[in-house]
């Protein structure tokens, strides 16, 4: 059973240089437009209860696809089927009337999303409570801050209990605590068997919320597979595209995060810093963290990659199941790899601190390049244990 089934969706926009051209075309019945294909031949299915992430660069056709799924834009070709009530948040609070109070807007907005009056009455208090707007709900929304606007919009859209929830970048605004609340609510959504279609530039959110992910590239499906696979390939593609500087930590935004990584080092089995290590020896990644604000829970991810950006291996305290780390003051955390099997060459370690849900990236830092020494010539990325067998043809 599919909640959404998209079948060869194509959307072409006609671009007219002047409005008069449109009239000329309508009257003269000859083309006076340029055709732009925003979406070509996109097919996918989302089984009920699954969630689909949509990723891609700007202009890849994500918004067009979401608008088609939400039903505001018609595909030029192709078909799609949706099951049940669909609520789309293409822009939070897009139906709000600035002069009306928050409460009045709840009624109109929930009705826009397809709710009946009795249902709205029932949900009203829940919506206000979730949006944390109890004290200002009867003021006109034009007096709200943009964060309050977003909170109300998200609260309404998710309170209408849709079977399919379509969300576009909705979480990019609002403070971190509320973002977390939104994520929790969406996770709960997924757990209760609802379908989510989620479009975002945040790979953390996509990773956490979506079982499958669709990668759009210039209007076409570049990849449609399990999220982990698509996201890692997308990230690799983006990194290749950005041509990161060869060494040194990446430049980060200026505001200081709550937890910073001061140092990432590579140690040998005696916990001595080394520049290179022999293959199959014990390798230790050491990360020094410093918590600037109040103590907080979070996760640490450590991985390493080849100098061309090809990731070899990465793990997080969440993936390993050790549970979140309590960050406070300065801490030293080590990841021990008892026998390092990768082939000889230059590598670089990367460490990332994320929040409690491993969703939001708080800080990341790279180590200096380190070497893996090996004597024999090698092909590929890792050395695998193996042996050869030889048989005579007559033995069979």
């Amino acid at each position: 059973m599919y909640a959404v089934n998209a079948d060869h969706l194509t959307k072409r926009y006609r671009i007219y240089l002047r409005p008069f051209d449109r009239l000329k075309e309508a009257v003269l019945r000859r083309p006076f437009h340029e055709s732009v294909e925003a979406l070509s031949d996109v097919s996918f299915q989302v089984p009920t209860g699954d969630s689909l992430g949509i990723i891609g660069e700007n202009g890849a056709g994500k918004s067009t696809l979401l608008k088609i799924l939400a039903g505001t834009v018609r595909p030029t070709q192709g078909n799609f089927l949706r099951q049940g009530r669909v609520a789309a948040l293409l822009e939070l609070g897009s139906g709000f009337h600035p002069e009306f109070s928050g409460r009045q807007n709840i009624y109109l907005n929930a009705a826009l999303l397809g709710l009946g009056e009795a249902e709205i009455k029932e949900q009203e208090e829940t919506i206000i409570r979730f949006a944390e707007l109890e004290s200002v709900i009867d003021r006109p929304v034009k007096t709200y801050s943009s964060g309050m606007y977003v909170r109300l919009g998200f609260s309404i859209a998710t309170s209408v209990h849709p079977d399919v929830l379509i969300i576009d970048e909705a979480l990019s605004v609002g403070d971190q605590r509320f973002q977390q609340k939104c994520v929790d609510r969406m996770v709960g959504f997924g757990k209760s068997g609802k379908t989510i279609i989620f479009c975002s530039h945040s790979m953390y959110l996509v990773n956490e919320l979506c079982t499958d992910t669709l990668w759009l590239d210039r209007g076409r499906v570049r990849e449609w597979d399990k999220t982990a696979k698509v996201v890692s390939e997308y990230l690799a593609y983006m990194e290749r595209k950005e041509e990161l500087p060869e060494t040194g930590p990446p430049a980060k935004n200026t505001s200081l995060p709550d937890v910073v990584i001061d140092e990432v080092r590579v140690l040998n089995k005696d916990r001595k810093p080394v520049e290179s290590i022999r293959q199959f020896e014990t390798l230790v990644f050491q990360v020094k963290t410093r918590c600037i604000g109040l103590p907080m829970k979070g996760h640490l991810g450590i991985g390493f990659e080849r100098m061309d950006g090809q990731r070899i291996f990465a793990t997080t305290t969440k993936v390993s199941g050790t549970g979140p780390i309590e960050f406070s003051g300065t801490q030293t955390i080590e990841l021990v790899i008892p026998s390092i099997p990768v082939v000889g060459g230059k590598y670089r370690a990367k460490a990332r601190v994320g929040d409690e849900h491993a969703l939001r990236l708080i800080h990341e830092w790279d180590s200096e390049p380190f070497g893996i020494d090996s004597e024999r010539p090698e092909i590929g990325m890792v050395w695998m244990n193996h042996h050869w067998r030889f048989y005579d043809a007559t033995v069979g």
Binding site: T72, R74, E99, F100, L112
Partner: protein, 275 residues
Amino acid sequence: MNMKTDVNPFSLIMRWATVPFRFKALFWGFMISEIRGRFAGSIGGVLWSLLTPLANLLIYIFVFSLILKIRLQPMETGTDSFAVFFLAGLLPWGAFAESLSEASSLFLQRAAMITKVAFPLELLPMIGVLVPFFLHGLGFAMYLGYLIIKGYFHVVWLWLPVVIVIHMVFALGMVTLISSLSVFLRDIQQFIGTVLTLWFFSTPIIYPLSMVPDPFSLMMKFNPMYPFIELYRRILLQHTLSWDLIGTAGGLAAVVFTGGVLFFSRAKYAFADVL
């Protein structure tokens, strides 16, 4: 979701007729917010929808009754009061003209909503007609009250709701047509005001048809607003019912509404692309 464009006029009209009931909460939500939104932030509120026609009335009485000294023949018009005569035409015209002048921005104004939320767009032209008719209806009700006090009441008045409904269907057809066209031809916004002024003066609203000299009075019959204004006036003041006029008005309403619905049903899928 059905992707086929339905072009059967009957099922299209059925869709229009049922949409306010199927989306009741949204329909009333729009209605209330439209009325409330009009006066939001103003102290006078709904009072303004009464004061504006009143001010117009005083201006026209001053110019036409006091200065130009238009004299009405009670035999022809059913009244010798210019104000009574004029209001019978002005209030229905006002509701109609307001619907049309706002039609050009009906969809354009709500571009953000239309491109981001899927909802039955049919509701917008309906609201665009119902709200002006409702607001002018308040003034009209007061006018009727005045007429009753003055002893104008007559059983023929019971036909009034029929005329109003036909008039609203006609207005809905026009609004649907103009609002859909305006999405593609934004120029309509610029000249709709002028067209309405011309239309107002070429319809016998300030003057009775009997004052119009010969070749022009024939042309009046082709003015689609003429049968409506004439119907209101005959029912209210002369207490007569013209089956001819009701037939013409009903036919006009049916043709214009069907045309509007057909055009809208084809154009609406392109709205989100253009807006």
